[in-house]
Amino acid sequence: MDFALTPEQHQLQNSVARFGREYGDFAAWRRMVAAGHAFDTGNWRHMAELGWLGIAIPERDGGLGGTPVDTMVVMEGIGCSLALEPFVSSCVLAPALLAGAPVAVRETLLPGIAAGEVFVTLAQAEPNGRFDLSHVETIAVPHGGGHVLTGIKSHVMDGATADWFVVPARTRGEMDDTDGITLFLVAADAAGLVRENMRGPDHRHNARLTLDGVAATALLGSLHDGLAVLERAVDAAIAARLAEAVGAMDALRDMTLDYLKTRQQFGVAIGSFQALQHRMVDISTACEEARSMTYQAVLSLSLPRLARRRAISAAKARVGQTGMFVGHQAVQLHGGIGTSDELAVSHYLKRLLMIDLSFGNADHHRALFTLAEDSLALEMAA
């Protein structure tokens, strides 16, 4: 049992930190965002050259076959520098969703993802589904040897820049049935697909898709049985996302501590006030909690389903809460200047808000935690 990184992971961490220093200039970030870019394509190319984009892709598919810990190391750096690159969607979520895809599909997409030339994301959320993965109203009907899809996918992370979508659609059963969900690959330029692009408060470029008889390019995995793959892929994506949160929280902690030490009011540094000191301690403790939770989430990805689900939902709930706490307190302790768009502080808060929301918020995951907990207890009793 240890929480140490391997020498290779240490090297990766150093490389991520160097990357952050070289590319993580906040003024440049603001200019990029103001110019309406979804992310920095130069950054993305560089990440591809460093091999990071293939970390979660098996070696046989042109990737590095890395571990969730490797992904975590990269995501912490991304969180720390507020990078908007679609790493989780294209490089963590998509490879996991394509795990059971036909060889031809894997050969087409995965090397391209690793090279940073192909963008894939998941189009799961529906207008009436809230955060429930099994809520699939989008219908897939057989047509000419394949399937055509009709439905609405209301929030597609990084959807504005994706070339392909993995779309869960219903091939049998009722609205919230766990059975009857099948994963399809849909091209962004497919006929019948309408894409509305929207940016978030965190400046990510997402999309809303309306599918009206869209022909799927391929069926991924087995018919009716897509939920297990979807759930596993989302859990891997959550773990990565939480590492991003940890990076963002640590960055906020550091800049807030620095501000407390330098900002003068009433003739002294405001960090000399005990009430602010104690708040700062609670911020630091929240960062430690989030990091511990993220480690256990990352390490749970190889466990059996229920243990994994319990760990991931516990972590998602708590990192969301601690992230919001740190975000809110960082703004508060900065005072007026913390509410300015010109300072990075509030942008980290917005990113943490979106992370708390992504893949379901704390309330949702507390409920899932309880479900997993009860099922584990039954299993134990049996």
Partner: protein
């Protein structure tokens, strides 16, 4: 001890209710219900509507063109206004400088400024905070040097709301640098068209422009626009801070508007076969907030009753500011939570850039972000706690 209104008050309530029903258009109502700050033009229009009815200055005495209402009437007015989703009045002229002008100003100043505040022909901005003087206002550095019939003002103000549209700014300046801290500070009324004033917008975290930096470079201000006595500006400033908290008390009444909006939002969100509003956990969180709002309302009423009775309400004004801002933040957090993934929709991009988004977006997120400011401005909640500890608890 009773909560009953007198027959006169009941009649006034009906009058106010009828006024709001007749004068708040469906469009304005919808605008208020987005939960975001109005544009200056909207504030001005609403102020003119009130002025047309003789209700321009609900907290001012009649002799200065106010309504001369009792605190109870003011409470009725504000609660009917909130109930009707009417806008709040923009307060900086009405509440933050007007009362100082009619209390400490010369007859000339009263005549020159008060009517235009009521009619909103003048828009006043507050020039207090400086980059180095936020919570610690007494350490402000903007200098005013007497030169004949003028003060020559040089310095920098920050977080100045709506300086970009303001016609005037009331401004704390240092007229004497030989004394320490609070002493040597004076209050000037400055015409924003004066030479040497430069306004730089500051975009806030809600991506809106309502605050600014104001740079003053040898701005000449007539001595006639000194408010009260030289060197006593600080004491007037403290009156302002107290009144600012009074506003927070009335703002408490507005929280109900947000709750209605959050309920409407949650009612429309499906969780399985239920609406989000009918799920136990969400509803319980909302109930908790509503219950705390009842407490806030009654703390406000007690403060009001003390005002009617001419009693000092102790630290309750600061407590109201703390509780109101904390509750507003929690309500807007819950609003964002209710919207679910829609919260990620801040603006359309690409071909339909600039078009409105569905589902009231991005108002919940904007309100949430703007609400972060409320525990910072008007004396941060940390400062409020310091003040209560020192003044009221003797710590």
């Amino acid at each position: 001890m009773n909560l009953d209104f007198t027959p006169d008050e009941l009649q006034f309530r009906d009058e106010a209710r009828a006024f709001f029903a007749a004068n708040v258009s469906e469009g304005l109502r919808a605008r208020v219900r987005t939960g975001t700050r109005l544009e200056p033009a909207e504030y001005i229009q609403w102020q003119k509507t009130l002025a047309g009815h003789g209700w321009a200055a609900p907290t001012w005495p009649a002799e200065h063109g106010g309504t001369g209402w009792s605190p109870t009437q003011y409470y009725i007015f504000e609660s009917e206004s909130a109930r009707a989703d009417a806008p709040q009045q923009y307060h900086q002229g009405l509440e933050l400088i007007g009362p100082i002008i009619f209390t400490y100003g010369t007859p000339e100043q009263r005549e020159k400024y008060l009517p235009s505040i009521r009619s909103s022909d003048h828009w006043w901005a507050q020039g207090y905070s400086e980059p180095g003087a936020g919570s610690d206002l007494a350490s402000l550095k903007t200098r005013a040097i007497r030169d004949g019939d003028h003060y020559v003002v040089t310095g920098q103000k920050i977080w100045t709301s709506y300086a970009q549209v303001a016609t005037h700014m009331f401004c704390l300046v240092r007229t004497d640098t030989t004394v320490r801290k609070q002493a040597g500070i004076s209050l000037l009324l400055i015409d924003m068209k004066s030479l040497g004033i430069r306004v730089r917008p500051i975009l806030t975290l809600d991506e809106r422009h309502h605050v600014n930096e104001v740079f003053l470079d040898e701005v000449r201000v007539p001595v006639a626009d000194l408010l009260g006595e030289e060197g006593k500006g600080w004491s007037y400033g403290k009156v302002l801070l107290d009144r600012e908290r009074g506003i927070a008390c009335a703002s408490g009444l507005r929280l109900g508007q947000y709750v209605r909006v959050v309920k409407d939002c949650a009612r429309g969100v499906r969780v399985g076969r239920k609406s989000l509003l009918d799920t136990a956990i969400f509803r319980d969180k909302l109930a908790q907030i509503e219950i705390e709002m009842v407490a806030l309302e009654y703390m406000g009423l007690r403060t009001l009753a003390d005002a009617v009775a001419g009693l000092d309400s102790g630290p309750r004004a600061s407590m109201l500011k703390i509780r109101w801002s904390e509750l507003l933040q929690r309500i807007t957090e819950l609003w964002v939570e209710a919207t679910g993934y829609d919260a990620a929709n801040f603006a359309l991009i690409g071909s339909n850039q600039g078009e409105p988004l569905s589902g009231n977006m991005p108002h919940p997120v904007m309100s949430y972000l703007h609400a972060r400011v409320t525990t910072i401005y008007g004396g941060s909640n940390e400062i409020q706690r310091n003040v209560i500890a020192r003044r009221s608890l003797g710590l």
